[in-house]
């Protein structure tokens, strides 16, 4: 069993996961819920997906972060982008900045701790998927 972390009416909340009818990239159709491994090569057609899930094999595996950034910046996917698999509360803030919008977490993760890990930093040095500015965002802005 897993729990789903996403925004409901503009607020982050955690609820029991419901079954998702995932399809693999071979079975992909527009409007499908596409499930990707972290080593998938982004394809332009995926912009039409309803939901894309990226399956993290380990807490330390950062490939899904690059893949997410590519889906947002290069493929132009604007729908719900979900991290599943080895999703740890301490990685959430990195995932958010790479464009993830929902997270499937193991049932043993404490919801209170999880919700406390969404934004440990009020500002960042770099531009990111959710803050697309030229290069070093703060320097470009302030000077």
């Amino acid at each position: 069993m897993t729990q789903l972390l996403n925004q409901q009416g503009g607020r982050w909340s955690i609820s029991a996961s419901t079954d998702t009818a995932w399809v693999s990239l071979e079975e992909f159709q527009p409007d499908a819920a596409l499930l990707l491994d972290v080593d998938a090569e982004p394809q332009a057609a995926w912009a039409s997906a309803r939901l894309i899930g990226i399956d993290f094999p380990a807490l330390t595996d950062g490939r899904g972060l690059s893949l997410a950034a590519l889906l947002r910046q290069r493929v132009g996917f604007t729908g719900d982008l979900r991290a599943i698999g080895a999703v740890h509360e301490d990685i959430l803030h990195f995932m958010l900045r790479c464009g993830f919008t929902s997270f499937e977490l193991a049932d043993d993760r404490d919801p209170e701790i999880v919700l406390g890990q969404l934004a440990p930093y009020s500002q960042h040095y770099q531009t990111s998927v959710i803050n697309p500015m030229p290069a070093l965002v703060r320097l470009a802005n302030t000077h």
């Binding site: 807490l59 330390t60 690059s66 990195f94 995932m95 440990p120 500002q123």
Partner: protein, 559 residues
């Protein structure tokens, strides 16, 4: 040097608060050992053989007197009154308590310091020339670009969870003092024909188990594209670098597997797309960064070369120190000084709180309140008037920081080794000490000239043994400590190309190391031509004559 603004201060404070909260969760059993491991590593905390080790970042090896005093205070309050200068221009504390680390970080934050990304599989503290902004042979000051890279790489959302650690070094002088050829990314900055700053980009150099000299994958990259190009390299590495075997996970293995040409092609393709999706670094951003590093206003000095020459004439020991440890400055009448930590009987790089406080004071008294750490684990005081060298030398002598051995065989680079590190196969510090004692005759050592002796306690190569003119590597042979000796490595410090050492033969026991080193030295003394240093001699005659150093037994000590 760079000055923190409110943004930097707030970020570091939030990092401390976040790490404190992570530590509390760990101590309360809400984070497993393995989960906390990944989090603490990204904040510089290792668990070592005897105690935790906290590595504090000294961005590109530059710190102020105020910061060095704070480090001295921390070493007295939370440690055993000393710190260890690392081979990546950082400082390490060997005895902190895990529960105290958040408090230590809070003390650091008060002086704009931190331990962010000093370990773990992420982009590490960027390193550079320890004479940057002060060297006579500098073409472009690399520090503004180092600071840009520091900011860009700090908590980068995409690159915090790489296959393995990632080290970037930048050099902007005629002589490469940053060893850019043996880093994951090495950058050489210079001016093109239009006086614009451009970079040669080297990738895939490194030491460790598989030592490699980096390949140049891009020449003359305009400065405005520096960060986007780094992003392209890191993205290719993050996506395609191996994650199944930590010994094959560095970028050098990816470059080798793909071939430099094909790797370059991938980076260039990725970069072309990034250029379409982003704006280059604005010139105002670069200019803003450069203004932090404008040269200090140094008073015109009565360029006391006459006086200095006279002082040297009267004091041969001072003269020798000037010859070895004092380096040319961009401004007439000034020098850059290396304060050696390599006194006999002291582990290389170890500095006491008293020494830190003394160095902090000298930097203010004689310099501009700024100190550098070298990757050879020494201090540098930049911008010292030549008229003050004698006074500085006298005080440094009293503090045991005036050993006249910069670049000599006793200026050993050495990792903490089996005495501290849980990765080590063998001890390294006692080997360094034994060799230093063996070579206690300063005249003899001086006559030997430039010899880089580098010692690593295991093949992770923190002591950079591959690039030592003489390299010693600790290996484990059926539970016994043995040492493999290589010759002819070279990392920079001159205009000659970097090279990796060649192993001279089977490894030897700890008792035999001194004897073998002694014989290597004797062979060099026999073979050398007038004014030929160790490296040049080795490159001329090759490894063959030196193999004899292993052959005859017993191994007698030299001199």
């Amino acid at each position: 040097m760079y000055q923190y603004d409110d943004f930097d201060r707030q970020f570091v404070q939030e990092r401390v608060a976040h790490y404190r909260e992570q530590t509390e969760r760990y101590l309360a059993g809400k984070l497993s050992e393995d989960e906390f491991l990944q989090l603490r590593l990204r904040n510089g905390l290792y668990i070592q053989r005897l105690a935790p080790m906290l590595r504090v970042a000294i961005p590109y090896g530059t710190l102020s007197s105020t910061q060095l005093r704070a480090l001295a205070d921390i070493s007295m309050t939370y440690d055993r009154g000393y710190g260890h200068l690392s081979t990546r221009q950082n400082i390490q504390f060997n005895w902190p308590d895990i529960a105290d680390v958040p408090d230590i970080l809070e003390q650091l934050a008060k002086v704009n310091m931190h331990a962010i990304q000093t370990s773990g599989s992420c982009i590490r503290n960027v390193t550079t020339d320890h004479f940057a902004g002060a060297a006579a042979d500098e073409i472009v000051d690399p520090r503004p670009y180092c600071e840009l890279i520091r900011q860009w790489s700090t908590s980068h959302p995409e690159f915090e969870w790489l296959p393995r650690k990632f080290k970037i070094a930048v050099s902007g002088a005629a002589v490469d003092r940053a060893a850019v050829e043996v880093h994951d990314i090495g950058l050489r900055v210079y001016e093109d024909e239009q006086q614009q700053h451009v970079f040669d980009v080297l990738v895939g150099g490194g030491l460790g188990r598989t030592p490699v000299i980096g390949a140049t994958i891009r020449a003359a990259l305009p400065a405005k594209h520096l960060l986007s190009y780094l992003q392209a390299i890191l993205r290719v590495y993050n996506r395609y670098g191996r994650r199944d075997n930590k010994y094959k996970a560095r970028i050098k293995i990816l470059v080798r597997a793909l071939g430099a040409e094909s790797f370059t092609e991938q980076v260039e393709t990725e970069w072309a797309m990034i250029l379409n999706e982003s704006e280059p670094l604005p010139a105002t951003t670069i200019a803003h960064m450069q203004q932090f590093f404008t040269p200090p206003k140094l008073p015109v000095v009565d360029h006391g070369t006459g006086t200095l020459a006279e002082q040297r004439l009267h004091q041969p020991a001072f003269s020798r120190w000037v010859e070895r440890n004092v380096f040319p400055h961009r401004t007439k009448g000034y020098s850059n000084v290396i304060l050696s930590t390599k006194a006999i009987g002291v582990p290389p790089g170890d500095v006491s709180a008293e020494q830190m406080l003394a160095v902090a004071s000298w930097a203010e008294q004689f310099g501009v309140g700024e100190i550098r750490i070298t990757h050879e684990q020494n201090f540098v005081l930049p911008h010292i008037p030549q008229g003050d060298l004698l006074a500085l030398w006298q005080q440094a002598q009293a503090a045991d920081l005036a050993t006249a051995n910069a670049g000599l065989i006793t200026d050993v680079i050495c990792c903490p080794g089996g005495d501290f590190c849980s990765l080590a196969n063998a001890k390294s510090i006692p080997i360094a000490e034994a060799i230093q004692r063996q070579l206690a005759d300063a005249d003899f050592v001086h006559d030997l000239g430039d010899v880089d002796l580098n010692i690593s306690g295991c093949m992770n190569a923190c002591g950079h043994h591959h690039v030592g003119h003489i390299g010693i590597l600790g290996v484990d042979k059926k539970g016994q400590e043995f040492y493999q000796i290589s010759l002819g490595g070279h990392a920079g410090h001159s205009n000659t190309q970097a090279s990796l050492g060649q192993i001279i033969g089977p490894s030897v026991s700890r008792q035999q190391v001194q004897g073998v080193i002694g014989k290597i030295i004797n062979i060099y003394l026999t073979l050398r031509q007038p004014d030929e240093n160790f490296l040049s001699c080795f490159r001329r005659v090759g490894v063959a004559p030196f193999k004899a150093s292993l052959k005859e037994r017993p191994h007698d000590a030299v001199a």
